[in-house]
Amino acid sequence: MNRHTVITHFILIIGAMFMTLPVWVAFMTSTHAPETILREGLQFWPGGHFLETYNEVLFEPGGVMKKVTALGMMKNSLILGIGFSVGKVIISMFAAYAIVYFRFRMANFLFWIIFMTLLLPLEVRIIPSYKVVADLGLLDTHTGLIVPLIASATGTFFFRQFFRSVPDEILEAARLDGASTWSFFIDILVPLSKTMIAAILIIMFVVGWNQYLWPLIMTTKEENYTLVIGIKQIYQVLNEGGELPQFQKAFALTILATLPPVLVVLVFQKWFVKGLVESEK
């Protein structure tokens, strides 16, 4: 090993530790009893309360109203994450299909309008969106939680770029083969976009899972909380309760909240990378 590789590895290791250490500390701390944490602070090595803590968090209702378990919140988060990502993929594929393959007036202009919404974060339109959802009576429903979020400029952009890279001859061959507008989409474009779909599903699942502000203002009942909000709630209880602060539960919840996105990325990593780098059509 020469000096060069030693240095690059050193930097790499430092970087990796920088990223993983907080997660490690959170996980380790969550396996200790609340008294230990209160007395000694953050923990670097495993304690003996792993099963106890996680059992309590997952299956015993917590929160302010003692109505919701982590498992329930996880279910809500999963619904949001999956609905959000699947919805985004479907909507943006249709949008991109129209923009790329249909000749209609101002198609390009409309695309740039959609593209420009990339510059606007959700927070900009959160009040009007809330008003619309509230007027439709969709507060505290999964529909209200998901639908306002599923229009996706990012997804539309990615699919547009991908569709444009599909050779025109494929479309022409399909037309001569008698494929209708719909069957060209389903039989040719969707299978060709498989890896692209996977990549966008993964990204969007993580984004959806991590949504905080929108679920926070959309849900009023504790049983509709998502995990990310649950964490916030538990910290709130910590400070207000007057009981012994339950830091280990907060950390356990944090670990639980990071698990599904991590799993999704790990399991689909191959597809994900393929989708981002694939050039062979």
């Binding site: 050779p167 001859e169 399909a174 001569l176 062979e280």
Partner: protein, 358 residues
């Protein structure tokens, strides 16, 4: 089986560019017609108009007596083979070949039978369950043809189908296409920019230039009897030698050499003398002084390139001439030869209109 008829066909793009400027053509049943021309001449556009992939601005195209201007591509009963094969990358060979039939709601076992039969004919039956990216270029080309054949169309359209193949395979596939077309006896239109391909494949050739058919006829007719300067220079390899000349009442002259044996030509305009490389030969009393600068040995014959002595006066380059000779003839570079030709076998064109005079 069907004949194809084009009547006053024009194509103008929305930006005003005129791609096809009035084409009339009749293709008889079972005939293989080749559209040939330089890139950008409109030959592909014309083919795509027959296929229905481009709209027809003006005029009429009919297949088997039915006007198909407003008929969708899939209902025109045509099949097309594309230059880059345009196979569906995610489908197997079988999937590629059956897709069109599936869309036509043909029963499954019928599809299987047709596909397998065609695959056998094209010798791709061993690859039916492979995907296009596992096949070689020649095999992909066969699959593309198979996809066209299974639909049993009235007209085959080929859009430069061999230009992505290497030279050897191209010759092989060319012969195969010709045989296949003979055997199936389906009216075919074949687009290429390669004049050898055009000459060897065609029953009839249409030389296309700037959106017009310059001349249409049997390959040998176009070779021996070209109607315009463009056709004469496009057909034949190596290219015909073109020498700018004027007529002085008795002889043709280019300021350096004089060519006798011509009469009744206009004296007031620039002319072009066309001499094919194979009618040039070395003669004692030849009219052309020729300086060799390159000899290409092709095995059976040699191509000798050089310039006309004296033609570089007042010009940056001398006039280039090519001569086809047998393999024994091996002049050295910078040798000067006397060349002559039989005036009866030469052509004379008007320079401004390209019209052939002799």
């Amino acid at each position: 089986m069907a004949e194809v008829e084009l009547k006053g066909v024009r194509k103008v793009y929305p930006n005003g560019a005129e791609a096809i400027r009035g084409v009339d053509m009749q293709i008889t049943d079972g005939e293989l017609v080749v559209f040939v021309g330089p890139s950008g001449c409109g030959k592909s556009t014309l083919l795509r108009m027959v296929a229905g992939l481009e709209t027809i601005t003006e005029g009429e195209i009919s297949i088997g007596g039915r006007v198909i201007n407003d008929v969708s591509p899939s209902d025109r009963d045509v099949a097309m083979v594309f230059q880059n094969y345009a196979l569906y990358p995610h489908m197997t060979v079988r999937g590629n070949m059956s897709y069109g039939l599936k869309n036509r709601k043909i029963p499954k076992d019928e599809i299987t039978r047709i596909v397998e039969e065609t695959a056998k004919m094209l010798r791709i039956d061993d690859y039916l369950d492979r995907q296009p990216n596992e096949l070689s270029g020649g095999q992909r080309q066969r699959v593309a043809m198979g996809r066209a054949i299974v639909r049993n169309p009235k007209v085959f359209l080929f859009d430069e189908p061999l230009s992505n193949l290497d030279a050897k395979l191209r010759v092989q596939m060319r012969i195969e296409i010709k045989r296949l077309q003979r055997r199936m006896n389906v009216t075919s239109i074949y687009v290429t920019h390669d004049q050898t391909e055009a000459m060897t494949l065609a029953d009839r050739l249409a030389v296309i230039n700037e959106g017009r058919v310059e001349q249409m006829g049997a390959p040998m007719e176009l070779y021996t009897n070209p109607r315009t300067l463009f056709v004469a220079s496009f057909i034949g390899a190596p290219q015909m030698n073109l020498i700018p000349v004027r007529f002085d009442g008795t002889d043709l002259g280019d300021g350096v050499s004089r060519f006798s044996g011509f009469s009744d030509l206009p004296m007031d305009t620039d002319l072009v003398l066309g001499v094919r490389p194979d009618i040039l030969s070395i003669m004692e009393d030849g009219q052309l002084d020729f300086r060799v600068d390159l000899v290409e040995q092709h095995g059976g014959e040699n191509l000798i390139y050089g310039t006309i002595v004296g033609s570089d006066q007042g010009a940056a380059h001398g006039l280039e001439i090519c001569l086809k000779a047998n393999q024994q003839m091996l002049p050295k570079v910078e040798d000067t030869l006397q060349l002559g030709f039989d005036p009866a076998k030469a052509f004379v064109f008007r320079k401004d209109t390209g019209e052939r005079l002799v």
